[in-house]
């Protein structure tokens, strides 16, 4: 029903726009917006970013005119009308914005975490409880997302390997258990330790247990909650980037914790590094980027095809990020017919209407759409964005 309503509304808006206006750039200014986008302004060395919203996919274009300015490449989570933004490496704060009826975001609170703690992922459980992983501090802070006050913290530094923090990144809440992917990196970009998940039992005094698997390293894409998810079977999957291809011999891929188990499933490892993928240069990807689970074992994700990169890299003109459909059950990856992007965008979002990809291509910068039903992708952005869209979310 919700799906139908949404489609009807979209159709009505489309007809209205087509019949009532010849200006494609008009941004809706009334009513809550459905989509959130993070755009990055990369025209100078000092990159700044914007977090803003747009009504729906018929708007045609999006500008940052009423968006909120933030540090470069922030991490963003949504809970209800609230948007939680962490500042990547450039700040210690978690900033809360709230979506309004006027189609804008306004700041409604902020918490300052400990100095250089690098707040990463905010996971909201309820109006009164949220978790924030502190990558550098090796800590999970529990706070009240309504009052934006800290309540307690969970120290994970005892699990650190080779340095002072296990580097907690993305989190997943499943059956009163908080799963925390820890990347265990010591040089910020590679890890030589087995892939590791910390399981925090919220029902028994936040006790922490570690599970590891040496078939991969570097559990979880640090900025992608979708890299740690649970399927319809209740199995927990984590994507391991395995040092992003920098460490020879390490294999990126999916590990699984079967429902009810407390160890990695020894029978399952979807090695994406060695998979032969038809239709792309070199026939393989280095790692998946921004995976988002669509259900039934299907993930949509971007992925870095390093064979397309220049030597040395050209960060503007190398369009190495392709768009892929990943079947984690059958362990296949299929390239989608959507233009490749450079690293400034390369984001994905699964919605009930289709799959959206943030792309900076030679054809346009903005949000492209893929229809799983027809297998067709848009050739140009359905919503152009002012800046490179590195995150797309739906309220």
């Amino acid at each position: 029903m919700k799906n139908l309503t949404s489609k009807l509304f979209t159709a009505l808006v489309t007809v209205c726009l087509m019949s009532c206006s010849d200006d494609d750039n008009i941004e809706p200014t009334e009513g809550k917006h459905d989509f959130l986008v993070v755009t990055n302004i990369t025209s100078t060395t000092n990159v700044t970013s914007y977090v803003g919203t747009f009504k729906d996919l018929t708007v045609g274009s999006y500008t940052n005119q009423v968006a909120q300015q933030t540090t470069s490449y922030p991490f963003v989570s949504i809970f209800g009308d609230d948007v939680f933004v962490t500042q990547n490496r450039e700040g210690d704060q978690v900033v809360k914005y709230t979506r309004s009826e006027e189609g804008t975001l306004s700041e409604t609170g902020r918490i300052t975490m400990s100095a250089d703690s690098q707040p990463m992922h905010v996971l909201v459980e309820s109006d009164s409880k949220a978790f924030c992983s502190l990558y550098n501090a090796g800590e999970i802070v529990i706070f009240n997302p309504t009052t934006m006050t800290m309540t307690e913290s969970i120290d994970l530094t005892a699990f650190a390997k080779g340095d002072g923090s296990p580097d907690p990144g993305v989190m997943l809440l499943h059956e009163d258990m908080l799963y925390v992917a820890v990347s265990q990196t010591t040089d910020t970009y590679t890890s030589s330790h087995p892939a590791e998940i910390l399981r925090i039992d919220l029902s028994s005094g936040n006790s922490v247990t570690s599970i590891t698997d040496d078939r991969a390293t570097y559990a979880g894409n640090v900025d992608t909650p979708g890299s740690l998810f649970v399927d319809e079977e209740g199995d927990v999957y984590v994507y391991c980037v395995s040092s992003y291809g920098f460490f020879p011999g390490q294999k990126a891929g999916f590990l699984r914790i079967k429902n009810g188990e407390s160890v990695f499933d020894e029978t399952y490892f979807f090695n994406t590094s060695d998979l032969n993928i038809v239709g792309i240069e070199g026939n393989h990807i280095d790692y998946l980027h921004r995976p988002d689970y669509a259900g039934n074992g299907i993930i949509y994700s971007t992925g870095n095809v390093y064979a397309l990169a220049s030597n040395p890299p050209d960060y503007i003109n190398d369009r190495t990020f392709g768009n892929f459909k990943v079947d984690i059950y059958n362990q296949t990856i299929e390239v989608l017919d959507i233009p490749f992007s450079n690293g400034y965008s390369a984001s994905s979002l699964v919605t009930e209407d289709g799959v959206l990809f943030g792309v900076s291509s030679t054809d346009g910068v903005g949000i492209y759409e893929y229809d799983p039903a027809t297998g067709q992708g848009s050739e140009a952005p359905i919503v152009t964005t002012q800046g490179d869209p590195s995150t797309i979310l739906k309220f």
Binding site: Q69, P312, Y315
Partner: protein
Amino acid sequence: MNPNFKINYTKLLLLSVLWLIHNNSAHSQNGVLKGIIKDHSSKQPLGFAAVSIKALDKGAYTDSRGSFILENIPYGEYELIISNVGYQTKKLNTWIDQPITTLEVFLEESLKNLEEVTVFGESEEIQEAREVMQQVMPVTVLTSKDIENRASNLNELLTRQAGVQIRQSGGFGSSATISVRGLEGKRVQVYIDGNPVNTPDGSFGINDIPLQLIERVEIYKGTIPAYLGGDGLGSAVNVVTKHRDYSYIDASIARQSFNTTNLGLILKKVFPKQGIEAGVGVFDNRSDNDYVMQSPFQEDLEIKRDHDKFHNLLVGASVRFHRLWFDEVEVEFARNDAAKEFQGIQRNIQHVESTAKTTVFAGKLEKTNLLNGKLDFKVNALRVGIKSTFNDTSSYAYNWDGSKIPSLIGRGELGIGPNLSKTVQNEIRTWTNVHYRANHFLSFNLNYNFRTSHFDPEDSLGNAYAERNIYNYDGNLKSSILGFTSEVKLLEERLLISAALKHYYNLVTGYNTNLYVQGEPDRVSNKTNKIGYNIGLRYNFTHSLFLKASHEYAIRLPLPAELFGDGALITPSINLNPEEAYNYTAGLVYDRYYQPQRRVQLEANVFYMDVDHLIQLAGAGLTTGYINYAHAHISGMDVDGKIDLTNHFFLSLNATLQSVKDVNKFIPGTNHVSNPTYDKEIPNIPKFFSNWNVEYHHDDWFGGNSNTRIIYEGSYVQQYNYGFELSENDNFVIPAALSHNLIIEQSFFNQKFTITGQVQNLTNAVVINNWNQPLPGRSFRIKLRYLLLDRKAKV
């Protein structure tokens, strides 16, 4: 021999021989020089003509009857300079060998009516500065009068000039970049005596040059003379070091807030008979920089900086020979040892530090007036060795309360792991300049700079930690810049036209240390062959009022660090092209003494620059690299006024208005994908700023030959954005800053003793000119200087 000088030259010759024999006794007596200055044609006396003896820094103006008098002149031979507006300047040697010497001098009217007037009190340095300002290039000149007694540093003086901003990251010794007309950092070349300053780690910057050594600073805006043999996008700062050709002692000590001390000592001895000058200098600067800052990251956290110490010791010695075939032969040695700690802002850093030891051997040959006075040439050669270290090996990271935790990167507090690096750079530079005057109206200048440099880093610890060779890759640089300039004077010298061609050759060799490639990296190189040019004119409407206009096609060559990255997360970019700029600038200058000791200087400039292929960091993932990206149009204007309101009050005001816009219509690499920042102001560049000062000076308040100066300085920088202005909610702004300084300078006995007190940022205003980099607030300084000059013995 000029018949206008009614002096008995036979007697002078005889006296000169006697003087040479009885040199010492002659110096013990003083005489008086008096005379009358008249117009050669009308024989009428000339009022307000300036008569000066440079060697004694003495001078006087003629009264309305054309008479002047100079007293207390030690017996000896002196060069006398007589000048007046609209007349040709006369220089003549005269002997003071009796109690009263009288002269009658006739000045010939200048056909152009444009001759410079020499003004009492206007030193040779100021006259040279005025000559620099007469070039076709837009240039601001700071003279030693503006600089040497100040307790502040050079950066604080530079940032008060029209069109100039200094972007500082911290206190004394911190990194700072110069911005001229919106272009900053590597795009503005800095020179010392025409040699580009470009140490690999920035260990020696313009601010490290002791103020006592500076004769003047030339700030070129938009067009650079071809004899400055470096690259850059059309703006440059050239520091000209002082050269006194007599014996002197110059000692100073300055104490400043934040436990900052500056010591300087120069000893120079001249041996006139042998024609030799020998000098040594020692300069020691140190600071704790322990000022309190508000954390930009943590609310309500005040931090007293405790790991920001800086120390440098500069020692130099030189010997000049004047009696060889060359007019001047100089050998010079300099050594600069610097050590610096790194202050954390976001995290408490406690152990990171760097050192640099720079050794310079230099030689200079100079010969003038060859080919019947038509040809001059200079040759400079430098051998520079730099040994620098970077030490970051802490096993701990520190919180602001002083507690420590294991390092977040295994070992080290910065970057991707520990570093214990040693880098050796050896460099040879030569600079050859030939100047040929075909006749009074036409001259040519050929300038050639050659530089070869080898860069050899070593960091076994960093490599061991990374489990691969990241850092130990050497590099070479060979560059030559050839400049040819011709100048012609037309229309009875009212019009000066200058045109220059500049050829740039640059070959940089290094390794493609690309993390994405396994195995040993390839040795690669980047070569540039480019030709730049400039053309300009100066037209004098009157002696005091002139127009300048110039155009330059300028080039900034990619730096080795941009081409080869850092071996780790900044990947190489070996195909970088040079940055380019097409600059246009025009200005009106009015410069006149309207009364003795009262001068008015007004200048207004407009400028337009089309800069392209600007190099910037790119990449959104773990790694980044430099690319040619931005294309910008820079336009603006600046005005600068200085006036002696009375014999005691001096006022100055300058203001700069500039706009730097992104003009890339499309994202690079595409021809139809719109650039989201097209036609937007490029961020992090102030659009408007202004400086002003009021000076009151008075002689003899505290006895004869004392001088008092009280100076108030103010400056204002309008608020500007750190990011592009795209949203009505933009909050990344660098706030407007209004700051005030007060300086009191008191000298005694003809500047033999000078004491200067200074309060910088009187109101303790928050001044920030780099994002998230808090600067010191109010600071106090006091400086004592002893200057003993012996002008009698000159080479």
